[in-house]
């Protein structure tokens, strides 16, 4: 048998699962089953992220999107355990509006996806090339202690189709949020480097925003006490 490129195989597998269950979400009439199909579709997307070497984004996908669907599922269960909402039928008009919207989105996304200039170098990266990249990107430097895998950048399947070791993605992201763009240290001219604060400001803005939302939710959800009658 010829060589199987496992990366490609798993990409098609996950992509198929994601698309198939996305269609199932639309077709199904039971809310709880829809939620389950949505979970599978989102989980397959997380698998695609892991396949692309974006561990952190994949885990985020599992935590936020798949975990967030939990609430949807609970509402589905609470609404449809008994009662008239067990089966939801989509009317013809709804189908047309939904098709129109989805078609517009697809028309935007498909050209965008197909016109990305180059996803990767297209050929297996040799060790020498990798070393050269490393000096610039600083994602990979030393191997600490007992062989912690430290491959960097995109995971390139070698000529046999065996994927490389897992890349490190979380630490540079975290350092970037804390204000140190470790991936860009070599690029910026000397004079600008002190002002290169990474994503610290957006990070702080989002943090404060989330705090406000949290306090607001707590305020809205607290039990209202009536003023004592005099």
């Amino acid at each position: 048998m010829g060589p199987i490129n496992w990366h490609t195989f798993f990409f098609y597998l996950y992509a198929l699962v994601a698309c198939g269950f996305a269609v199932a979400v639309v077709i199904s009439t039971s809310i709880v089953r829809m939620a389950l199909y949505l979970i599978v579709a989102l989980g397959a997307t997380a698998g695609l992220f892991f396949l692309a070497g974006a561990d952190f984004v994949g885990a985020m996908q599992l935590m936020i999107y798949v975990g967030g669907t939990l609430v949807l599922l609970i509402f589905g269960v609470m609404l449809t355990a008994q009662g008239p909402l067990v089966s939801l039928r989509t009317t013809g008009g709804d189908w047309i509006v939904a098709m129109l919207l989805a078609g517009c989105l697809a028309a935007l996304l498909i050209p965008a996806g197909l016109t990305v200039s180059s996803w990767h170098t297209g050929h297996p990266v040799t060790t020498a090339e990798k070393d050269a990249q490393d000096v610039q990107t600083v994602l990979v430097s030393t191997t600490i202690a007992h062989g912690v895998p430290t491959a960097g950048g995109l995971p390139d399947a070698d000529s046999n189709g065996i994927p490389d070791k897992q890349p490190i993605t979380a630490a540079p992201l975290g350092m970037g949020l804390l204000g140190a763009r470790v991936d860009k240290l070599g690029d910026v001219p000397e004079a600008l480097r002190p002002g290169m604060s990474g994503y610290l400001l957006p990070f702080e803005v989002i943090s404060v925003h989330l705090l406000v939302v949290l306090v607001g939710a707590a305020y809205l959800a607290r039990s209202k006490r009536r003023a004592p009658n005099r």
């Binding site: 709880v32 561990d55 885990a59 935590m63 939990l70 609970i74 430097s141 600490i144 007992h146 912690v148």
Partner: protein, 396 residues
């Protein structure tokens, strides 16, 4: 490993067989683990209640009881209520099982012995363990039974609440080591047991207890097992299940108990590092060749599994000692006690690490330095300067 095997086999086969081997080894944990822990649970609970527990099956200590239990469950009839949602009812146990199994993928069993060495291992395990609740909710809904539905709704409320303090507790060791990679976190605790993060400072010590409370609640064990409260809900979400599907729920429960105990062992108790660094004293390290390193890793594996079993036994002990809480008490423990304590411990650990002089908490510094070593020299020098001034300030 796949690369090494590719010299002897077709590459695609090598890759496939290595993947399958890892999966089979990991599947042993919920399978054998569940059998062993059920036996432990029966013996420990019996002793706590001044009974003997299983004694006859297999001669001494009833050790064959676990096999008898397993056989009984496999041969039971697979029942399904008439009103049940057939598809969801069938797959719900396997969703729980898959979630608990997937958590083991990122759990290192010894130095570098991990199926997937994820850079975000801690985060991945938390995310995946949170998915176990899907199986419970679907089971509760699909059973078409009020007991099951009540159990599932309780479980949902409980798990969503307890994820908050659990996440906060896990952040503390991550903060101190500067890494979310479980292998790195374990390696940073090498040495004597004083290096274990639970003894790093008073805050981490308390954090461990909060973590263990929340972990017990998140894997749905007594005193937080409201989802299957026998006295009120028959058997909660698995009322309508029997045979192998019921067994799948139980293997999921014991698998995730093992996973959270393993996470506790790595985050707080040094993972595969014993209390005394015997392996490095005997020279069983990678510097002395792969064979000695392998023996050292094997000892580490025993260490790790011992710690996990200890954690699970502790959960069993707690289950048979404390009475079950009410649902409002469960929420109170989470929101009024665990969350604030975890938040204060997080602040305290931050202050301890970064404000105390003497470089007490500088364990994360080498990790940060890795990222700037091949950067322009002044950036590395800057980090060096920060480290040395902090150490110098402590010396004054």
């Amino acid at each position: 490993m796949a690369e090494a095997l590719a010299n002897y086999l077709w590459p695609w086969l090598a890759y496939l067989s290595v993947g399958l081997l890892q999966c089979v080894l990991l599947l042993l944990v919920p399978f054998v683990g569940a059998m062993f822990f059920v036996w432990v649970e029966r013996k420990v609970s019996a002793r706590i209640q001044d009974r003997l527990g299983p004694t006859r099956c297999g001669g001494k200590f009833g050790w064959l009881q676990l096999l008898a239990d397993g056989l009984k469950l496999i041969t039971k009839e697979d029942l399904r209520p008439g009103d049940a949602d057939a598809v969801l009812f069938r797959i719900a146990p396997y969703i729980s099982f898959c979630a608990s199994f997937a958590a083991l993928l990122a759990l290192p069993f010894s130095n570098g012995w991990v199926a997937q060495n994820l850079d975000v291992g801690v985060f991945f395990i938390l995310a995946v363990l949170g998915l176990e609740v899907f199986g419970v909710i679907l089971a509760g809904y699909a059973s078409a039974s009020k007991w099951s539905l009540f159990g599932a709704m309780r479980e949902a409320a409980q798990v969503v609440s307890y994820e908050v303090p659990l996440g906060m507790c896990v952040v503390v060791p991550v903060l101190i080591t500067g890494s979310m990679n479980l292998v790195t976190i374990g390696q940073m605790q090498a040495g004597f047991f004083t290096q274990w993060l639970v003894f790093h400072d008073p805050f981490t010590f308390i954090t461990f207890w909060v973590y263990f409370t929340c972990a017990t609640a998140s894997v749905n064990r007594a005193p937080f097992d409201l989802a299957e409260a026998e006295s009120e809900l028959v058997a909660g979400f698995h009322t309508e299940y029997s045979g192998f599907r019921w067994l799948a729920f139980f293997m999921a429960e014991y698998g995730s108990m093992f996973a959270v105990s393993g996470l506790a062992a790595i985050l707080f108790f040094g993972g595969w590092n014993g209390p005394i660094p015997i392996t490095s004293m005997l020279g069983l390290t990678p510097e002395n060749g792969p064979v000695l390193a392998w023996i050292g890793n094997l000892l580490g594996l025993f260490n790790f599994i011992f710690k996990c079993v200890l954690g699970v036994t502790f959960m069993v002990w707690v289950r048979w000692t404390l009475p079950r809480l009410r649902i409002d008490q469960v929420m109170q423990v989470c929101l009024k006690y665990c969350t604030p304590i975890a938040a204060v411990m997080f602040l305290g650990a931050t202050c301890w690490t970064y404000l105390l002089p003497g470089g007490v908490g500088l364990r994360a510094m080498p990790y940060a330095q890795r990222y700037v070593t091949s950067a322009p020299a002044d950036a590395a020098a800057e980090l060096d300067r920060i480290a040395t001034t902090r150490v110098a300030r402590g010396g004054e």
